[in-house]
């Protein structure tokens, strides 16, 4: 199954993978379709990063748009797809922490039928997922969250960069929830559930005001405890922990506004 080709063709070009039979998905319009049904967005797996970052979808899913805009270059964003990001299942896949924070569900289709898997269960390890032979990622379903969203990414420059650390935050004002997805700091996508539970009880939801700075710092520390980063050529585990705490604090303050800290 070939979607945008931005991962698979690299392996083919470098002789690490040999193709036998290929089903290309990029000209199936149904897979690039998105729609809103009541409280749920359904995003076709063939939506490119360019489409996700475009004005229509960015209005509804700003965190996902921010993440999509940080991927690669215009050339890569025109080719690479949401479904491809999940199929590759890299810990540094930029849409994945956002999808985790959005409580996204992956819709899978095969000749045998249809099944649905939460995105946090779909990815089972570094570059491993729950796709079965003959199965296709058809769409990603995302419940509407009424509130600000933020995606923050650390890399060595502003373009063409693989995440060293990333963090996605989704605020659901009606459910009184802050939800945090972590990127590039764990083999499978993680939510910072302990930090979420801690801060959700301490925010003044009526006034949308954050608690005092020490409490926000404690939230950031709890976000860091949810990570299990490694040392590699892009950064050390210690650096990733430090940066993740900075991103957690920054995302929370951006979502609620500097004046509401």
């Amino acid at each position: 199954m070939l979607a945008g080709g931005t991962d698979l063709m690299v392996e083919v070009n470098h002789g690490r993978r040999h193709l036998v039979d290929v089903v290309t998905l990029d000209q199936i319009p149904e897979l690039s379709h998105w729609e809103r049904n009541g409280d749920v967005f359904r995003l076709g797996s063939g939506l490119t990063y360019t489409a996700l970052a475009g004005p229509l979808l960015a209005d509804f899913l700003p965190g996902l748009a921010q993440a999509a805009r940080t991927v690669g270059s215009p050339q890569i964003r025109n080719s690479g797809t949401l479904g491809g990001n999940l199929a590759t299942a890299s810990p540094a896949g930029d849409t994945i922490p956002v999808l985790a924070a959005l409580d996204a569900v992956v819709e899978l289709r095969s000749a045998d039928g249809h099944r649905e898997v939460p995105v946090t269960d779909f990815i089972t390890g570094v570059k491993h997922n729950d796709l079965r032979p003959g199965e296709l990622i058809e769409a990603i379903r995302v419940p509407v969250a009424d509130g600000p969203q933020e995606f923050l990414k650390v890399g060595t420059r502003n373009a063409m960069v693989i995440s060293v650390v990333s963090l996605a935050m989704v605020v659901d004002l009606s459910a009184h929830q802050v939800r945090v997805g972590l990127g590039a700091v764990s083999p499978v996508p993680e939510r910072a559930t302990e930090a979420e539970a801690f801060i959700n009880g301490l925010i003044d939801w009526d006034g949308q005001v954050l608690p005092e700075a020490a409490t926000v710092d404690r939230f950031a520390d709890l976000v860091v405890t949810a990570a299990s980063p490694i040392d590699d050529h892009r950064g050390s585990a210690a650096y990733r922990r430090h940066a993740l705490g900075v991103l957690a604090r920054r995302a929370l303050i951006r979502c609620f506004g500097e004046e509401n800290r």
């Binding site: 070939l2 945008g4 080709g5 931005t6 063709m9 690299v10 083919v12 070009n13 470098h14 040999h18 193709l19 036998v20 290929v22 290309t24 990029d26 000209q27 360019t50 690669g72 270059s73 215009p74 050339q75 890569i76 025109n78 080719s79 502003n158 373009a159 063409m160």
Partner: protein
């Protein structure tokens, strides 16, 4: 594994590909089978942008496109920019601004900038920087490339301007 013959529609003409293999990239087929070597091959992993072409209306790295999957699409390569043998506005602007040194990145940049000017006839510098963020140049430091974009944009708008290198 060989694939059935297919046809690529490139720069307004049909190019049959026979005896192709399934794992050939569009870049490889352009350069090695169809005698269109203007698109350059450097990284083969989507990092450098020197193989940039238009696929329908959007720019992509041709090294990451499975050639056979581009059958039925409209492909525009650097050879298609100067279709009648006359230099395109972006090409002339690169010469006038001195934006070419070794020249290896130039075809990809020209295709990317030609596409940029479709949507942005008078682009701001940040817009230009983002538009060419996927095209690496290791010679120029980009100053004269950015100046060339402004020259090309002015030429396309029909207004006179001088190259300003910052």
């Amino acid at each position: 594994m060989t694939v059935d013959p297919y046809v690529l529609h490139i720069n307004g003409a049909d190019h049959p590909v026979v005896d192709g293999r399934i794992d050939e990239s569009l870049l490889w087929v352009l350069r090695e089978r169809l005698e269109l070597p203007g698109s350059k091959n450097a990284c083969e992993e989507g990092e450098c942008g020197s193989c940039t072409v238009r696929l329908d209306d959007e720019i992509v790295c041709s090294c990451l496109v499975l050639a056979a999957s581009a059958a039925g699409r409209r492909i525009t390569t650097i050879e298609g920019l100067a279709a009648e043998g006359e230099l395109a506005d972006v090409q002339q602007a690169f010469i006038d601004a001195g934006a070419v040194q070794c020249g290896f990145c130039t075809p990809g940049l020209l295709v990317a900038i030609d596409r940029l000017l479709d949507d942005h006839p008078d682009p701001e510098e940040l817009t230009v920087q983002e538009a060419i963020s996927g095209n690496l140049c290791r010679c120029t430091g980009y100053g004269r490339i950015l100046a060339a974009v402004q020259l090309a944009a002015a030429a396309r708008r029909g207004s006179e301007t001088q190259a300003v290198v910052r």
